[in-house]
C-alpha cells in the first residue's frame, strides 16, 4: 500500500484491493436485489399478458414503437459513453472522463425527455388508468378492443406506467450521481489505482439500460406491427 493513495483508503480496510473488491461485490449484490425488485413487476406482467394477450397486443399498438426504438438507441449509446468514461478513468484521463460522463447525462436526459413526450400523450388521450380512463365505448374505438375489455386495458397501462416509471426513477437517481462523478473527476479525484465510484456507477447505469432493453419489446412490440 503506497501512501499516495491513502487518502482514498477508508480506515477499516487493510488495503485498496480489499476496499475495491468489497465495493464491487456490494454493487453486484445491490444489482441482484434490483433484479428481484423489477422481477416482481415482470412476474405480474407475464401473468396478465398470458391471461389477456389480445388486449395487451391491442394496447401495445397504441404505443409509438418508433419513439421507443429511438429511445433504445439513445440508451445503448449512453451505455457506450458510460463505458468510455470508465475506460478513461482507468487511464487517469480526468477531463476525458468528465466529458464522457457529461455526454452520458445528455443522452440520459434525451431519453427522459422522450418519455415525457410519451407520457403527455397518454394523459391527453386519457390512457392513464383510474377514474379518468377512457369510458368503455371510447376505449373500444381508440384502442380497437371490445368495450368490456376496458378494465384489462387499464391493467396494461397500469403496468406500462409502473414499469417505465420505475425505470425512469432509476435514471433520475443515476443522473445526479454521474454529474457528481464528472465534477469530482474534473478535479482529479480519480486515478488509475482508485476510480471505483466511476466503475460502480457504470455497473448501475448498464443495469438500468438492460432493464429498458427488456421493457421495450415487452411493452411496445407485442404481436405484429
Amino acid at each position: 500500500m503506497s501512501n499516495a493513495h491513502s487518502s482514498a483508503l477508508r480506515h477499516h480496510f487493510a488495503n485498496l484491493d480489499q476496499q475495491k473488491d468489497s465495493s464491487v461485490l456490494g454493487m453486484w449484490t445491490f444489482i441482484v436485489q434490483e433484479i428481484l425488485f423489477f422481477g416482481g413487476l415482470f412476474l405480474v406482467y407475464t401473468i396478465y399478458r398470458h391471461e389477456y394477450f389480445d388486449v395487451f397486443e391491442a394496447c401495445s399498438h397504441h404505443l409509438d414503437w418508433k419513439l421507443g426504438a429511438a429511445n433504445t438507441v439513445v440508451l445503448i449509446f449512453s451505455s457506450l459513453t458510460m463505458a468510455m468514461g470508465v475506460h478513461a478513468a482507468a487511464l487517469g484521463q480526468k477531463k476525458a472522463t468528465a466529458a464522457w460522463l457529461v455526454l452520458t447525462i445528455v443522452l440520459g436526459s434525451i431519453f427522459l425527455g422522450v418519455k415525457v413526450v410519451e407520457y403527455t400523450e397518454k394523459f391527453e388521450h386519457h390512457l392513464v388508468p383510474g377514474p379518468h380512463f377512457l369510458p368503455p365505448e371510447e376505449a373500444a374505438h381508440e384502442l380497437k378492443i371490445q368495450p368490456s375489455q376496458t378494465g384489462q386495458a387499464q391493467l396494461y397501462f397500469s403496468l406500462y406506467f409502473a414499469m417505465t416509471g420505475l425505470h425512469a426513477i432509476h435514471m433520475i437517481i443515476g443522473i445526479p450521481i454521474i454529474l457528481y462523478l464528472a465534477w469530482r473527476s474534473w478535479h482529479g479525484a480519480y486515478t488509475p489505482a482508485y476510480h471505483t465510484p466511476v466503475e460502480l456507477t457504470g455497473l448501475y447505469w448498464h443495469f438500468v439500460d438492460i432493464v429498458w432493453i427488456f421493457l421495450f419489446p415487452l411493452l411496445y412490440l407485442i404481436g405484429h406491427h
Binding site: 477499516h12 383510474g130 420505475l166
Partner: protein
C-alpha cells in the same frame, strides 16, 4: 481466594467505543458498527414495548367474549398495529440490527462492516420507516392486518394504508442494506486464517439471513408499491373488477413474508449455537450440518410460500407441491435441534442465564416447529389455518424462539457490549417468568384454534372464554417477565460488576478484545490459527487487546 480475586479485580479499559466521544451528535452521526448496534437496540426496544402495549390491549379486550372495551374499528387497528410493529420493526431487524451489527465485525476480526456509512443509512431508513408507520398508527390508524390482503387494502379500508406502506418500504430498504453489508463483510473482511469453516455459526446464520434479505425484501417492496399505486392513483393490478387477481397479491406477499420468518429465526438459531457451545464447553456437534442447514432453510424457504393459501382456491396439484416442500423445511430444522442436544453430551454444562434461554428456545422451537407440520399437512391445514392455532404456532416460533434467543444473546454479550455484568439472580428469575408466562399465554391458543376460534376476532362465542382468560393471564406474567430485564439492564450499565475481556470464558474473536472493545475493535489485527469452538482447553488469554 478472595484476596486473590480482589487483587485481580477487573478494570474497564481507559478508552473504548462508548467513551471515545460524547454528545448526541457523536451517536447520531457515528459510523462505528457497535454504536449503530446500540442505536438499533434503543429503537427496537422502544418498538417492542409499543407493540407489546398493543398486545396487552388485545389480550385485555379478549378476556370477555363480547367486544366491550374497544369498538371493532379500534380492535382491528390494535391487532394490525401489533403485527406491523412487531414483524417489520422488531422481529425482522432486531437480531441482525443489534447483535449482528455489534458482533459480526468482532467475530471475523474486522475493524468495522464493509460499508459503515451504509450501515448508518440503514438505521436512518429504519427510523424513517418507523416514523411513517407510527404517524399512520397515531393519525387514524391502520386496519388491514399486517398482511395487507387485497382487495381490502386497495379498495375498502378507510385507513392509512399508503402511509404505512411507505413506512414498510423504508424498513425493507433498511433490511436490504443490512443484508448487503453483511454479505460483503463476511466475504471480504475476514481476518487472516479465518476460513469459512472456522466461522462461528452465528456468522453462518447471518450470512444465510442476508441472502434472504437481498432476494426477498425487494419483492415485498415492489408489491407494496403496486398496492400504493392501486390505492392512491387507482391503477389496477389486483382489482377483480378490471380482470386483476387479488390472489396474485398473496403470492407476491408470501414470496417475501414466508422467507421473512426465516429472516427472524435463522439469526436466532445462530445465537443459540453460540450459547450452547459456550455453556456446554463443546464444539457444536455436527458443525458442518448446522451451518449447511441454515443455507438449506434459506433456500427452501423461498419455495414454500403458497402454503399460506391452501384454502384460497389454489389448485390441488400446486397445493401438493407446496405442501411437500414445506415438509422438507422440517429436516434442516430437525438437524439443528438434534445437534444442539447432542452438543451437551459429555460436555461441561453450566446453567447460567444465557443457557436457560437457550434451553428454553430449544423447547419452544420444538413445539413451534412441530406444530408447523400440522399446517403443512394439507387436509389438516384446511381446518386450522386462519384460526388461533396458527396464531399460537407463529408466536411459538417468532416470540417463543426468536425473542428467547435474542434475550439469551443479549445476556451473553452484555458484558462485551457494556463492560459490565447483569445481576445473575434477577436474570434467572426473569428467564423463568418469561418461559412460564409465554407458555401460559400461547399454549391455550393451540386448543382454541383447533376448537375453531378464528384469528382477528373481536367478538367470540362464550365457550372460548376460559381459554382466552388463561391466555390473557399468561400475557400479564409475560409482560412482567419482559419488564424485569429492562430494569436490571439499565441498572447494570452503571452499577453492574465490571467484566473481564472474556468472562464466561468463550471462544471466538469477540472475546479476544477488551470489554467494551475499542472503536477500532482490536488493538492489533487478529490472526486465527485454531479451529472454531475449541473448548478442549481454556481459551487463550485475550491477545488482541
Amino acid at each position: 481466594m478472595s484476596a486473590v480475586v480482589a487483587a485481580r479485580e477487573p478494570q474497564l479499559p481507559k478508552e473504548h467505543y462508548l467513551n471515545a466521544d460524547y454528545g448526541v451528535r457523536s451517536w447520531l452521526f457515528t459510523i462505528d458498527h457497535k454504536r449503530i448496534a446500540l442505536l438499533y437496540l434503543a429503537s427496537v426496544t422502544f418498538m417492542f414495548f409499543l407493540g407489546g402495549m398493543y398486545a396487552a390491549a388485545i389480550r385485555l379486550e379478549l378476556v370477555t367474549p363480547p367486544g366491550d372495551m374497544f369498538s371493532s374499528e379500534t380492535y382491528n387497528k390494535l391487532f394490525t398495529g401489533h403485527g406491523v410493529l412487531m414483524v417489520f420493526f422488531f422481529l425482522i431487524p432486531t437480531i441482525p440490527g443489534v447483535l449482528g451489527n455489534f458482533l459480526i465485525p468482532l467475530m471475523i476480526g474486522a475493524k468495522d462492516l464493509a460499508f459503515p456509512r451504509i450501515n448508518l443509512l440503514s438505521w436512518y431508513c429504519y427510523m424513517a420507516g418507523a416514523g411513517f408507520v407510527l404517524y399512520a398508527l397515531v393519525e387514524g390508524g391502520l386496519d388491514t392486518g399486517w398482511t395487507f390482503y387485497t382487495p381490502y387494502s386497495t379498495s375498502f379500508s378507510n385507513t392509512n394504508v399508503i402511509l404505512a406502506g411507505v413506512g414498510i418500504f423504508f424498513a425493507g430498504f433498511s433490511s436490504i442494506l443490512t443484508g448487503l453489508n453483511f454479505i460483503v463483510t463476511i466475504h471480504k473482511m475476514r481476518a487472516p486464517g479465518l476460513t469459512w469453516f472456522r466461522l462461528p455459526l452465528f456468522v453462518w446464520a447471518h450470512y444465510a439471513t442476508s441472502l434472504i434479505q437481498i432476494l426477498g425484501t425487494p419483492v415485498i417492496a415492489v408489491t407494496i408499491l403496486l398496492v400504493a399505486l392501486e390505492r392512491g392513483f387507482h391503477f389496477g393490478f389486483f382489482d377483480p373488477a378490471r380482470g386483476g387477481d387479488p390472489i396474485l397479491f398473496q403470492h407476491l406477499f408470501w414470496f417475501y413474508s414466508h422467507p421473512a420468518v426465516y429472516i427472524m429465526i435463522l439469526p436466532a438459531m445462530g445465537v443459540i449455537s453460540e450459547l450452547v457451545a459456550c455453556f456446554s464447553r463443546k464444539k457444536i456437534f455436527g458443525y458442518g450440518f448446522v451451518a449447511g442447514s441454515s443455507l438449506a432453510i434459506a433456500v427452501l424457504g423461498f419455495l414454500v410460500w403458497a402454503h399460506h393459501m391452501f384454502v384460497s382456491g389454489l389448485s390441488v396439484y400446486a397445493s401438493l407441491i407446496f405442501s411437500a416442500i414445506s415438509f422438507l423445511v422440517a429436516i434442516p430444522s430437525a438437524i439443528k435441534v438434534f445437534n444442539w442436544t447432542a452438543t451437551l453430551y459429555r460436555g461441561s454444562v453450566s446453567w447460567q442465564t444465557p443457557m436457560l434461554y437457550a434451553v428454553g428456545f430449544i423447547g419452544l422451537f420444538v413445539i413451534g416447529g412441530l406444530t408447523g407440520l400440522f399446517l403443512a399437512a394439507l387436509g389438516l391445514d384446511v381446518h386450522v389455518t386462519d384460526t388461533y392455532f396458527i396464531v399460537a404456532h407463529f408466536h411459538y416460533v417468532m416470540v417463543g424462539s426468536v425473542v428467547m434467543a435474542y434475550m439469551g444473546g443479549l445476556h451473553f454479550w452484555w458484558p462485551k457490549i457494556t463492560g459490565r455484568h447483569y445481576p445473575e439472580w434477577w436474570a434467572r428469575v426473569s428467564a423463568v417468568i418469561i418461559f412460564v408466562g409465554f407458555n401460559l399465554t400461547f399454549f391455550p391458543q393451540f386448543i382454541l384454534g383447533y376448537l375453531g376460534m378464528p384469528r382477528r376476532y373481536h367478538y367470540y362465542p362464550d365457550e372460548f372464554q376460559v381459554l382466552n382468560v388463561m391466555s390473557s393471564a399468561g400475557a400479564s406474567i409475560l409482560a412482567v417477565g419482559y419488564m424485569i430485564p429492562m430494569v436490571y439492564f439499565a441498572w447494570s450499565m452503571r452499577y453492574g460488576r465490571i467484566a473481564t475481556a472474556n468472562p464466561w470464558p468463550a471462544t471466538g474473536l469477540e472475546w479476544q478484545t477488551a470489554s467494551p472493545p475499542p472503536t477500532e475493535n482490536f488493538a492489533v489485527t487478529p490472526t486465527v490459527d485454531e479451529e472454531v469452538y475449541d473448548y478442549t482447553r481454556p481459551p487463550k488469554e485475550p491477545t488482541f487487546v
